[in-house]
Structure formats: C-alpha cells, structure tokens
Symmetry: C2
Subunit: 176 residues, 2 copies
C-alpha cells in the first residue's frame, strides 16, 4: 500500500487498517486524521510521535496501560500483539521461563503502575528478560519515557508491516 492509496481511504477504512498501530489507542490515529493527506510513511510516523509527545505525563502512562502484560494468554491479546510475542519466541518459553517473566512483569507493574512495554519484534526471550531485570529497578519518570520509546518502535514496525509488507515478510515466517 503506497501513500496515495492511504490518502484515498475514507476515515473508517483508515481507522480499520491503522487504528491499532499504537496498541488499543485508536484515538491517536483518529487525531492525526485531522492532518491528512499524509506526505509519506515518515510523515504518519512523525505525526503519531508528535501527538504522543504532546500528551501530559498521565497520558503517556495511559498509553502504556493500554498495552498487555508480556505473558498474558494469547486469547486476551490483539492479533498484532500475538504476532509480535510469537516473533520474540515468547509463545514457546518453558514453564520456568514463563513463571520468571510473570513474576518480573508483576513486580514492574506493582512498582510503576503501568506494564512493562518492549518492542518484542526487536528482541528475544533472553534480551527481554535482561531488559526486565534492569528496568524494574529504575525510576518511574525514566521508565515512562523508555516505555514510550518502545511504543514508538512497535508503532514504526506495525506501520511498515502495513505499508511495506514485503520488506517485513521475513519476521512473519517464525514458526510457532
């Protein structure tokens, strides 16, 4: 799908296709629709990023709270999250790894009041475990910013998945 095709969409079609590039926050895409037509994928990405940056700190935490815990059962996840967690190998952890991840995620959420967010597609079970152990000890403001950086990475990959699916095909072939 090229940018001309995106600009030819109705609002309803746009929201249907792009509504979840920031997990469960269709309002962000509903907002940037105010500035269409878009100049390209980089323009869409920049507008999403600027919108997120314009939010008060509570709004950034709100975005993080719209994300699932990493080790939730697939049934409660969006399709996007399932694919991403699969790509990181999170669906084939053994029960010991899963228990450890669950405990760390719970400690993280308990400490900060929002879930641990990481771009699963850019990570493996090992690197996610390492990041969790490190990040769980940081300060709230630091983690709010770090979480939002990860939200933007996830968003960028989801946008590319929609707009340049062939370039991303390789990450899709990861086996269950």
């Amino acid at each position: 799908m090229d940018i001309n095709a995106v600009n030819a969409l109705t609002y309803e079609e746009f929201l249907e296709i792009f509504g979840n590039v920031v997990e469960k926050c269709p309002i962000i895409l509903a907002a940037i629709w105010s500035n269409h037509p878009f100049r390209g994928i980089a323009d869409i990405e920049a507008q999403i990023s600027d919108f997120i940056d314009s939010l008060p700190e509570s709004g950034k935490e709100g975005i993080l709270r719209c994300h699932p815990d990493l080790s939730l059962p697939a049934v409660s996840l969006t399709r996007d999250s399932v694919d991403e967690q699969r790509a990181a190998g999170l669906v084939c952890m053994d029960s010991g790894e899963r228990t450890l991840l669950l405990e760390l995620c719970a400690r993280y959420r308990q400490r900060f009041g929002f879930p641990f967010v990481i771009c699963a597609r850019a990570n493996s079970v090992e690197s996610i475990g390492r990041a969790l152990r490190e990040r769980v000890n940081r300060e709230r403001a630091q983690e709010r910013e770090r979480g939002i950086e990860e939200v933007k990475k996830i968003c960028s990959l989801r946008l590319r998945q929609i707009l340049q699916p062939h370039a991303e095909r390789s990450t899709n072939t990861t086996k269950l």
Copy 2:
C-alpha cells in the same frame, strides 16, 4: 458505588467499569488512573475534563471522531450510546425524520471532518434536529469546542449513572 469503592478497584476493574465514559476513549481513563485515589465524583470529572483540555486540537477532533453518527443502526453502537439514543427518542423516529437526520449528519461530517456530537439524554428528536440545522453552518473551531462540551456532558451523565444509579433511574425507564 461510592468513591471509596471506586478507590478500592484494581486498574482492570476501574477500566472495565469507567472505560467508556468518554465514548471509545479508554485511554483517557487509563491516563487519569495516574492520579488515583480520587477525592470524589467531581474530582474524576474534573480530571477527565482537564485531560481533554490539555490535548492539541487534533486530539479533541480525535475524540469527536470516536463518537458514532446519531442515526447509525444499533448494532454498531456501544451499549451506552444505544441507551442514550433511546432516551432521546431517536430509536422511534419515523422514516422521514430518520432520512432528514441522516442527511444533516452526513453534511455536518462532510463539512467538519468529524461527526455531530450532542448529549442525547439532555435532548429530544426535535431539539437535536434544531441543533443540527444550526450547528452545521458554523465554523470548524467553534464546532470542535461545542462538540467537546457535549462530550463532557455525556461523560458527566455516564459517571453519575455508574456512581449514583438511583438518582438517574428515571431516564432508564424510557420505553422502546
């Protein structure tokens, strides 16, 4: 439900109960969760209002775009919207009224790029028709602000419906 009961909720319970007080914008409730415990219903309402006011103009338009057109079939509406449209008598319009409302709503959306939003519970078919005919000719910035005022009225009534259901019971008995 009193404010102590609200403050005793987990985040998941809070979102389940209050997530739709601003139509399809759970992120707003996810955001104000950063400031819990709440001092009372007025505190929750003020925090939602402040959060909305803090958004860039595109964000306010995004909120309006998360609202349904007034005359959509019930199947595509949230439960809250169905109840509200029923209270305003919108479900028992004759086909002439419905066609006129549809046309005006389409003209409004075409002109402003967001749907006509009005607090249905505070209106009747007649007053909604009057408001539509008036508001469809205004300026976009004016309608953005007016729409957001209506969003806040809807939110206020939804909050009271949850927190003081007995005081609101009378609006619930409207027949189909």
